[in-house]
Symmetry: C2
Subunit: 152 residues, 2 copies
């Protein structure tokens, strides 16, 4: 078990986790990003899929654009009217591991009865994939073996 401690090694205010939570820690934002990671780009597609009130969705998208997780672009296919679309930036895409890790956690711990509705495999080997900690030379490290290193 984790040893008792009176204080975290890094105060929460300095921890970027706190900032990340400010950004994406609400009921809709993570779900919007989920949809975006699956390729949804248009206002009404987000809206009908998530059921988000339009006012809220509008605000969340605006905020995600301001924060640089989504880019608002104008898309025009021939013979059709131009439409805005919201596509993930690199910064937004980089959240994919977080979202997948959380999804897998939910599949394992929140939905014990059935099979998880979704899983992930390596396109090449077709093997199942899970999230883990690895060293830079590719060895997997169990989470009990992690040590925290502070910068001074």
């Amino acid at each position: 078990m984790i040893p008792l401690s009176r204080k975290s090694p890094v105060p929460p205010a300095q921890c970027n986790l706190a900032k990340a939570v400010d950004l994406i820690g609400d009921r809709w934002t993570l779900l919007i990003l989920r949809s975006a990671l699956y390729g949804v780009r248009r206002f009404d597609d987000f809206q009908s899929e998530l059921g988000t009130p339009r006012t809220i969705l509008s605000g969340r998208l605006k905020n995600l654009v301001e924060q640089g997780l989504l880019a608002r672009r104008t898309y025009k296919s021939e013979g059709r009217r131009a439409r805005p679309e919201y596509v993930l930036t690199d910064k937004g895409e980089a959240l994919r591991p977080v979202l997948i890790a959380l999804t897998q956690w939910g599949d394992h711990w929140l939905d014990c009865d059935g099979q998880p509705p979704i899983s992930f495999t390596d396109m090449q080997s077709r093997q199942a994939v899970h999230t883990a900690f690895v060293t830079d030379d590719g060895r997997e490290v169990p989470s009990e073996n992690l040590r925290i290193v502070l910068r001074r």
Copy 2:
């Protein structure tokens, strides 16, 4: 870039990500779990570290206990009065990879100026560690190579 899609392959309502967001998707809960992962266990330690209003903290802890992420126990060291403490369950501990992945995302994308305040190494080899997707036989898979598999 992610191909355009009108709908996610799994509707959000069936996705356990949505349930997970309901559980931990608010300003305080993730931060409480962060502290817990660092070994904080006591009400006032959470409170003074996070600055959470006591009423809120009380409610969040209660909720986390109900959901099975924390267990409320009574701890007594000799010569001292018994105290309640909140310790992570296995279910709560299992969120560690999610929290670390999000922390590392924040360190990389939110804090471009400085060094990240914290990093993680393998206790044994002392090498730096990052979160990644791996196959069951331990090969790392880049996130572009993930394929979604739906259960029918």
